[in-house]
């Protein structure tokens, strides 16, 4: 593990048994995705059991991002079903971190975390300082997001995952623009999510040693 500012005491408190609602699984059956007139993929089926990490890979345009967006409901499937084993609506159970991070350039990291906390949880929000430490952004806490580097922006976006426990994480290229410490941060967050019984589906071009399932699209 890379020792950096990220791993403060606050880190050890990360989502305490957030997923302790029984064994959960994600089931995808005969899923088809059509964009325009192009069939991106069809007849895709898999099951991801609680604590599982699924690595989705494939060439550009193979449908990795589309799959994640289908799972969280941002896209509608052309055919097939996606469901959680307990029947809960997917949109309310997942965090989606896409290519575009949804950060606002004119806010500061501190303000970003403040609002994200209020959007995603009704419980006592995690202290902004903890999350800033975790993301390694304490020194940049009051700078505009527009002044952050791509890697710093990515780390700030990752704090959204911790604003509230969600049972399913959908991460699109989570390692993009991150340095070694940032990558380790992502890996540790994923490991903790899996240990807590949550599910992680991540699209990445590089190998993901943490993944216990691999899905190659476009083959």
């Amino acid at each position: 593990m890379v020792k950096t500012e990220y791993f403060s005491d606050a880190y050890t408190e990360f989502p305490a048994a957030a997923m302790s609602q029984g064994q959960l699984s994600l089931r995808v059956e005969n899923l088809a995705c059509v964009r325009g007139l192009r069939v991106v993929f069809a007849d895709l089926s898999f099951m991801l059991a609680g604590g599982g990490v699924l690595h989705v890979s494939g060439a550009n345009g193979a449908g990795k991002t589309s799959l994640l967006r289908l799972i969280c409901g941002l896209l509608a499937p052309a055919a097939g079903t996606i469901s959680l084993s307990d029947g809960a609506p997917l949109a309310t159970q997942c965090h989606y971190l896409g290519h575009a991070d949804g950060l606002k350039n004119t806010l500061t990291p501190r303000e970003t975390i403040f609002y994200e906390n209020r959007f995603w949880t009704s419980q006592e929000p995690r202290a902004a300082e903890d999350l800033l430490s975790l993301a390694g952004l304490r020194k940049q806490a009051d700078q505009r997001v527009s002044s952050l580097s791509a890697g710093q922006r990515r780390r700030l976006a990752l704090t959204r995952l911790l604003a509230a426990p969600r049972r399913l994480w959908l991460l699109d290229e989570p390692y993009t623009a991150l340095d070694a410490a940032g990558r380790e941060l992502v890996n540790t967050l994923i490991r903790r999510q899996a240990e807590a019984g949550g599910l992680v589906v991540l699209a990445a071009h590089e190998p993901v040693p943490l993944a216990d399932q691999h899905l190659e699209l476009g083959t």
């Binding site: 941002l74 896409g98 575009a100 004119t106 609002y115 209020r118």
Partner: protein, 225 residues
């Protein structure tokens, strides 16, 4: 989870973004440039300016609203904020209303506040400022809601400003007709309010407040697909 709490936070964030984003100054500058240039284009005859003032003020207001709505959803679409907005644990219609309320407070209120000065520059009588503000205020929500429908329909389209204008201009016709008419009658008889026209404007605004958010939400969902 408290939807109201989330919507309050969203309103506060959007208001902060509007105030920091530098969106207000271009709109105010547009209003003043229009008003300052009118006498040059129409001639310096004060009675002519006074006669045309109701229509001019409404058209300037309408154009200011369209200018301010240009990138309302487009910026969210481009930076991924629209995905997060849709995934928030509240109804998208509510989130849209929070955004529009922030827009109204952050941009439209300041524009409305400049309208008395704009009216005086167009030679309306000082005692007709209040009726003028009343008609503009009654119609402004409709302008924002209808304009936001156009902005949402054009989301994902590059350089969608013109498309937005083409979509919403027909929807604006009743608002302009009732608004400019009510204002003209109020200016013709100082100290009076055209209650019927004002009521109709309020009705259009109320209807748009109820009907526009579902339409905007549907357009945004379609836009990201």
């Amino acid at each position: 989870m408290s939807d109201w709490r989330i919507l309050q936070a969203l309103f506060a964030r959007e208001l902060r973004l509007v105030l920091r984003g530098g969106h207000l100054m271009p709109v105010l500058a547009f209003v003043f440039i229009c008003v300052m240039l009118m006498p040059f284009g129409l001639g310096p005859e004060l009675s002519l300016l006074q006669r045309l003032a109701p229509g001019l003020l409404w058209v300037i207001m309408l154009m200011a609203v369209l200018l301010s709505l240009d990138r309302m959803f487009q910026a969210d679409f481009e930076d991924g904020g629209l995905d997060q907005l849709i995934l928030l644990p509240v109804a998208l219609e509510g989130a849209v209303m929070a955004k529009l309320c922030a827009h109204f407070v952050g941009i439209l209120f300041p524009v409305l506040a400049t309208m008395p000065l704009a009216g005086l520059l167009l030679n309306i009588r000082p005692d007709t400022v209040v009726p003028m503000l009343a008609t503009l205020l009654a119609g402004a929500p409709a302008l924002v809601m209808l304009g936001a429908i156009g902005a949402a329909l054009a989301v994902g389209v590059r350089r969608a400003g013109l498309l937005t204008v083409l979509i919403v201009t027909p929807l604006y016709v009743p608002v302009i007709v009732f608004g400019a008419g009510a204002l003209a009658r109020s200016l013709a008889a100082p100290g009076t309010l055209d209650v019927a026209a004002l009521g109709m404007l309020g009705l259009i605004s109320a209807a748009s407040i109820f009907l526009a958010p579902p339409a905007i939400a549907a357009a945004l969902r379609a836009g990201i697909r």
